[in-house]
């Protein structure tokens, strides 16, 4: 079968939630240990037995996305990886107090960013991210210099002016709500932006992301309850990136639910668990969920199984962890095998980004820290320092 015809068939199958007839696992030697189970779509409200879940795509000889998109995804994944590695290097050489970020989640985060409707106000998507989403931000078109400046806590840090940790982005022009450190609070706020969007009309949706351990917080349950009230369902794409860790605590020790996505079924919402280590699968699965939330104006819970390549944060050393599948490595293997991108070209691209990030870091190192007197700024919006306070 010609590649294009095959591609069409797979995409069509994807739309219908069917398994394409000819699709067979291509490689059996892949490290499967931590790779997600096959993608699964549920038609809520009835939870189905695991065996009945139908994958949107399975491994195939052909790649179901066009070449330009594959290359764009790959390029952004490399850029994001090089950015995170530079941030870690900055931390290790004393150019930042703390590192946390998302190396290992690029295969999920880049497709996510590419599917977002970017802009300001309720006609566009509202983004409630957590601290592992530099790749999503870059996929939206953000320049990496901002993340580097935030790492160095310079006055020029465009997200917090040197006030907040690495990866704690904020960009009002793109509806990127401030990322904050308390785990899971974004899930309590997400129904609020979605509520405004539902009333506003249009196709803007709210996207909220967090980790697996954080779903134990009440705010996650709040999000499920508030976005599924009968007759008042909200257009929220509820995402959980499951790396099977909360700092040092393994998932199985503290979570009894086999798949976190199952928690949505009780609320009558659509749910699925997807392979977040595969950007093609992530793209197609997310696309389907995005389309549903955009058009139906109802919630969808997607759990993505991902890797945590450098541990939790700099507090645990920020060193490469062996045994976790590296989504970039796997993707490059696949692109090479399908003649989309040679190993040599991928390597050259990486070298270019390594140098680009190093140059940006050199630039940020020369920039000044915020002046101490600026602590009084922005206590209140559009006002000077609060009057009754001694200013000295």
């Amino acid at each position: 079968m010609a590649r294009d015809a095959k591609k069409l068939e797979v995409v069509k199958a994807a739309k219908q939630g069917k398994k394409p007839a000819a699709a067979k696992p291509r490689r059996t030697s892949r490290p499967e240990a931590k790779v997600a189970q096959p993608a699964a779509v549920t038609a809520a409200p009835k939870p189905q037995p695991v065996s009945a879940f139908k994958p949107i795509i399975t491994r195939s000889d052909e790649l179901p996305l066009d070449r330009a998109l594959l290359l764009r995804i790959h390029d952004t994944m490399v850029k994001a990886r090089c950015l995170e590695e530079r941030l870690i290097a900055m931390y290790k050489s004393g150019h930042g107090y703390f590192w946390i970020g998302g190396p290992g989640e690029e295969a999920f985060n880049v497709p996510l960013g590419l599917l977002i409707k970017k802009g300001e106000g309720p006609a566009f998507d509202y983004l409630h991210f957590h601290y592992r989403q530099s790749a999503t931000f870059l996929a939206l078109g953000e320049e990496p210099l901002g993340a580097i400046r935030q790492m160095k806590n310079t006055a020029s840090d465009p997200y917090s002016g040197g006030r907040n940790f690495a990866g704690h982005f904020s960009k009002r022009e793109w509806n990127l709500c401030p990322v904050s450190s308390p785990i899971e609070v974004q899930y309590a706020m997400a129904p609020g932006t979605a509520h405004v969007q539902k009333r506003f009309g249009g196709d803007g949706i709210t996207i909220v992301t967090g980790g697996d351990a954080g779903t134990a917080e009440g705010d996650f349950a709040s999000c499920l309850v508030w976005s599924s009230r009968p007759g008042q369902e909200l257009p929220v794409l509820i995402l959980v990136t499951n790396n099977r860790w909360g700092i040092s605590t393994p998932y199985g020790q503290v979570q009894g639910v086999e798949r976190l996505s199952d928690r949505g079924a009780a609320f009558g919402m659509r749910t699925k668990t997807i392979d977040g280590n595969d950007p093609i699968s992530s793209y197609l699965e997310l696309k389907e969920a995005f389309e549903y939330v955009r058009t139906e104006r109802k919630p969808y819970l997607v759990e993505a199984n991902v890797s945590r390549l450098f541990g939790h944060s700099s507090a645990s050393g920020a060193n490469l962890i062996k045994g976790e599948p590296d989504c970039l490595e796997l993707f490059e293997e696949k692109l090479a095998a399908h003649g989309v991108l040679s190993r040599a070209d991928a390597k050259a691209l990486r070298a270019r980004y390594v140098e680009e990030m190093a140059e940006l870091a050199r630039q940020a190192k020369e920039e000044p820290l915020p002046d101490g007197s600026t602590i009084w700024e922005h206590v209140y919006f559009g006002e000077g320092p609060p009057d009754p306070l001694p200013k000295g």
């Binding site: 009333r199 705010d219 919006f381």
Partner: protein, 351 residues
């Protein structure tokens, strides 16, 4: 004349019609009840939320992030405590984003003792609220101030914590809200929901207007020369009547209603304290790390050499709760005789 619940209702009506308020919500806030204290009866934008305080505050923050103007009610401030990190987040969102984002939202919640509410319907929240930077915090003691401060809160670009002294909710005002009918029964017929089936009922709103009360203005309730007493909320009327008692004893007390706890009106406080040289701060929250302690500290720091006696604080006892029995409640939070005694001692204190 309107009581505080009616005044708030009229203010909320004005705010949803003229100030862009989009959502007034919380537990039992929508029809048919219109709030457990009836503050939200008959309004157009009210709705009932799930019983989830964190969800309520999170929803308000989300609405505000997306350009709406929410007013969220926490049914009793006793139940706001599990939202404290969200309140902190609301207070720091503008600052943490270096001025990018703001949250024009109001949280209103009944506070304090006075209705024999026992351990979980008598809490105060002013001491805790004033530990959370980035908010504006108001607490009226009259219906007119409640009306005016609610309008001001709904014009704010920043989060406002609106504390409602529940003991004063049913006390009629002495100053009219411009536009309210002169006769009490007439107002009740217009805006109080009937008992029984309310499905066909619609409020008839009197045409009330602006009153020119801004956030950050204290009010001189009674002028005096010898001693200053500063209070807010439930203890405010106690201070007024205590001043009258002392007037009979020849003590001339000046009474200030702070009205806004943050950012508060230091200029008015300072002028009064400089005049009298003696000041008593009164509130009913627990007295350890109490907001009044900050006012005492500021008075000492800035006005020490103009003082004739040490600044004093009269506040609630630092015990885990307010007991149900009348004897327990009155022993726990300031009563009129406590204020009289504290003022008398302060007025006559000599080195």
């Amino acid at each position: 004349m309107a009581n505080m619940a009616q005044a708030l209702r009229m203010a909320l009506h004005y705010a949803e019609e003229k100030l862009g308020v989009t959502d007034i919500f919380g537990e039992d806030v929508g029809p048919p009840l219109g709030g457990v204290f009836t503050c939200t009866q008959g309004l157009r934008t009210t709705w009932n939320s799930p019983l989830d305080e964190r969800g309520i505050i999170g929803m308000a923050m989300g609405i505000a992030l997306a350009g709406g103007r929410p007013i969220a009610e926490i049914q009793f401030c006793d139940y706001i405590y599990n939202t404290v990190d969200l309140l902190k987040l609301a207070g720091n969102t503008c600052w943490a984003s270096n001025g990018q984002w703001n949250l024009p939202m109001v949280v209103m919640t009944p506070v304090g003792s006075g209705i024999r509410g026992s351990i979980y319907h008598s809490h105060s929240f002013d001491a805790s609220a004033t530990h959370i930077p980035g908010w504006k915090i108001v607490m009226p003691s009259t219906p007119l101030d409640a009306y005016g401060l609610m309008l001001a809160a709904c014009k704010e670009q920043n989060p406002v914590m609106f504390l409602i002294p529940k003991a004063l909710m049913r006390i009629k005002g002495e100053e009219p809200i411009p536009g309210e009918p002169g006769e009490d029964k007439a107002l009740s017929r217009l805006i109080d929901a009937p008992l029984g089936d309310r499905s066909q009922w619609k409020a008839q709103w009197p045409d009330t207007g602006e009153v020119g009360i801004d956030i950050g203005q204290a009010k001189v309730v009674r002028e005096g020369r010898q001693v200053t007493v500063v209070s807010y909320g439930r203890t405010m009327p106690l201070c007024r009547s205590a001043a009258e008692v002392l007037a009979g004893e020849g003590v001339d007390a000046e009474v200030l209603d702070l009205r806004t706890l943050w950012p508060y009106d230091w200029a008015t406080l300072k002028a009064s304290i400089e005049k009298t040289g003696r000041v008593l701060f009164v509130n009913e929250d627990t007295e350890v790390t109490n907001f009044g302690e900050h006012l005492v500290r500021r008075t000492t720091d800035e006005l020490f050499y103009q003082l004739l006696a040490p600044p004093k604080l009269l506040a609630g006892k630092f015990v885990p709760g307010i007991g149900l029995a009348d004897t327990l409640e009155t022993a726990s939070v300031p009563q009129e005789h406590d204020v009289v005694q504290a003022l008398r001692e302060l007025a006559t204190q000599a080195p």
